[in-house]
């Protein structure tokens, strides 16, 4: 699918939130701190990391749901900056949210939910065209036309997520940020929705930024995978490359921590169990953010942030000791 044409380019993206730490005092929380990557047309980039690593913030900031504190976002080579850029961009880039229960308005019928983006961007003329488009969208995601007049609460989690996906497809986007779209679903339903994402990509030529914490799901769906830790990107490579040869110590332990659904493999598996918890992003460690939990940390790691460098073709890592520890 991928034609190696860059669709989304993110450069040195920063998103700081001001947190009140006392009366009249505040401190910046660096949710995303200098993240750069690009996504090719028709590609799926998986974004993984633990809670609080900033993966959701990256997704939301790209769509300008948060105003970026710093950095650039380019769509098809064009810098997104002014209000009108953002409005145009949002016709081409949409989002699917994690929680299918809270992301749909309980007072709106399915056809109103799916039709709302059409009204906002004035994409259809007349009632008939609008209705036809809504039914077409429902058909894309495997919902029946008889579901159109019902309310969200009448549906199961998997079907609600289908409604959310139909809504995000309404504006005929090129790019969709999928923020943990299957985490709230049962395993048996999860596979249906994952397959649907695959099919829609083939049919409509979509590009995805797929944010998730379930590494088995991300591996299945992604062409390339980026790993984030505490607001920084620590590793980026082809999906298979990163699974077979993770280079950053954090990616290594993250991948070894995934429980494998195979008892014999699970028993033989040597897990790298990390000690301690993720530090608060309000008090991020100096230098490399991972050094407080890293087995290989040395003095240099405390002094400076390791650069995000390409170590082999298409494989980027931010670690001072990447060469030594992977020998």
């Amino acid at each position: 699918m991928s034609e190696n044409k860059t669709l989304i380019e993110v450069k040195d993206l920063k998103e700081y939130f001001n947190i009140n730490t006392g009366m009249f005092r505040s401190k910046p929380l660096k949710a995303v701190d200098g993240v750069s990557f690009s996504i090719n047309k028709g590609e799926t980039l998986g974004l993984v990391g633990e809670s609080g690593c900033g993966k959701t913030t990256v997704g939301r900031t790209i769509l300008h749901l948060y105003k970026p504190t710093g950095g650039e976002i380019r769509y098809n080579g064009k810098l997104i900056k002014s209000r009108s850029d953002i409005k145009e961009f949002r016709k081409k880039a949409t989002m699917v949210f994690q929680d299918p229960y809270s992301s749909l308005n309980p007072r709106m019928t399915v056809s109103d939910i799916i039709g709302e983006p059409l009204d906002v961007h004035k994409l259809t003329k007349g009632k008939k065209e609008r209705q036809e488009r809504i039914l077409e969208l429902m058909d894309y995601v495997g919902l029946n036309s008889e579901h159109a007049a019902r309310y969200a609460h009448e549906f199961s989690g998997g079907q609600r997520q289908r409604i959310g996906i139909a809504r995000s497809l309404a504006v005929n986007p090129d790019f969709i940020v999928c923020d943990e779209p299957v985490s709230a679903l049962d395993v048996s339903i999860q596979a249906q929705v994952i397959n649907m994402f695959d099919e829609l990509q083939d049919k409509l030529g979509l590009t995805y930024l797929f944010i998730a914490h379930d590494l088995l799901v991300v591996r299945h769906i992604s062409d390339r995978i980026a790993v984030m830790y505490l607001g920084r990107m620590v590793e980026l490579a082809d999906a298979n490359e990163i699974y077979d040869h993770p280079l950053h110590p954090y990616s290594q332990s993250l991948l070894s921590a995934v429980p494998v659904p195979d008892p014999k493999v699970a028993r033989a598996n040597k897990r790298i169990v990390l000690t301690g918890d993720i530090p608060s992003p309000l008090n991020a460690p100096s230098g490399c953010p991972f050094r407080t939990r890293c087995r290989y940390a040395c003095d240099k790691c405390a002094e400076s942030m390791p650069p995000f460098e390409e170590v082999s073709k298409g494989h980027f890592v931010a670690c001072h000791r990447v060469k030594e520890i992977n020998d």
Binding site: A191, I194, V258, P259, A266
Partner: protein, 338 residues
């Protein structure tokens, strides 16, 4: 004798919309020092099974049949007085959400000591010592300092450790863990599972692990019970369930998980939508979603069929396959065969 013997357990919720049979004829046994996994999706009855054993059901829920024997002692109908000596002392439970299971207005120490003093004869000073010892056991640094802190000062993984410490303080025979790591990140999950595994070996207790994550089951469990719509579809040793599944639901579940081999390929999902417990089908509850459902599946629920000494399943497909292999013939009658 088995440590815990659950037989034909039936629990229903009586709601305005009608009776919901949340647990319908569930039987299993648990031996000392073993880890039993109960897997299933939401609404399968896995948590209600655990709550029925502990008898901590919500107001509308009631055990309407069956027996739960702990060390030979019947618990169903035994009364609240007996249950008070069981809960916490002999069977402890930890819940999914470590954020809401602790009281935010009391210190960790006070909550731990309360549990210890309630269940043992220890005085305040001894309880304090025991609490610190337990925190140390679950790998919490500086336990003396942690005792004086409130739950909000601890991360999710740490709170779950405190819950485990509390549950193990009275050295129960059985620990029921209801989705203990679902709310946690993978690296923290790995820490907690490792901790539970090593404590289980150290203290020799039995664990009932309730989860929807087949990866957690593969890593932790000796035996597995697979539930769907309140009933057991299949039970057996972990190896049997993973490598030789004999119920169409279990097979579908195994096929639908993404693995290294499925990258770039289509997953094979289970079709249809989850079951509505208020409108249960007449036959096999999984039949409406089963690709291989036969006529008999729609009209008759299968009996428990013994596959081998480590494995039993409730699926007509086993009978069909036996007929196809010529092991039984239809004249003998398909359904009294085991």
């Amino acid at each position: 004798m088995a440590l815990l013997e659950v037989k034909n357990l039936k629990t229903s919720f009586f709601t305005d919309a009608g009776e919901v049979k949340a647990v319908n004829d569930v039987s299993f046994t648990l031996d000392r020092g073993k880890v039993l996994g109960i897997v299933g999706e939401s609404g399968s009855g896995k948590s209600v099974t655990a709550y029925s054993i502990m008898q901590i059901l919500a107001g509308t829920g009631k055990i309407i049949g069956g027996s739960v024997k702990l060390d030979g002692q019947e618990l169903v109908g035994a009364g609240e007085k007996v249950m008070k000596t069981v809960r916490g002392n002999k069977i402890s439970i930890i819940f999914q959400d470590p954020m809401t299971s602790l009281n935010p207005t009391y210190t960790i120490g006070r909550q731990l000591m309360e549990a210890i003093m309630l269940h043992t004869d220890r005085d305040k000073k001894q309880a304090r010592e025991r609490a610190i010892e337990m925190l140390r056991l679950v790998n919490i640094n500086e336990p003396e300092k942690r005792m004086k802190q409130y739950p909000f000062e601890h991360s999710g993984g740490m709170r779950q450790r405190v819950m485990i410490a509390m549950a193990l303080a009275c050295e129960p025979d059985i620990l029921i863990a209801d989705e203990p790591t679902t709310a946690l990140d993978v690296t923290i999950q790995a820490q907690i599972l490792e901790l539970m595994g090593s404590l289980q070996k150290e203290l020799g207790m039995a664990i009932i692990m309730i989860t929807h994550d087949l990866g957690v089951v593969a890593q932790m469990c000796d035996e597995v019970v697979v539930m769907y719509a309140g009933s057991i579809c299949e039970q057996g040793t972990a190896d049997e369930i993973f490598y030789n599944p004999r119920h169409e639901y279990t097979k579908g579940l195994m096929r639908s998980i993404p693995t290294a081999d499925t990258a770039g390929k289509k997953l094979q999902p289970i079709t249809g939508t989850p079951i509505d417990l208020l409108n249960m089908p007449k036959g096999c509850p999984f039949a409406p979603r089963c690709d291989n459902a036969m006529k008999i599946c729609i009209n008759h629920r299968a009996e428990r069929m013994v596959i081998n000494e480590d494995h039993a399943a409730t699926c007509w497909m086993n009978v069909k396959q036996a007929i196809d292999r010529g092991e039984i013939s239809l004249e003998e009658g398909g359904d009294d065969h085991e």
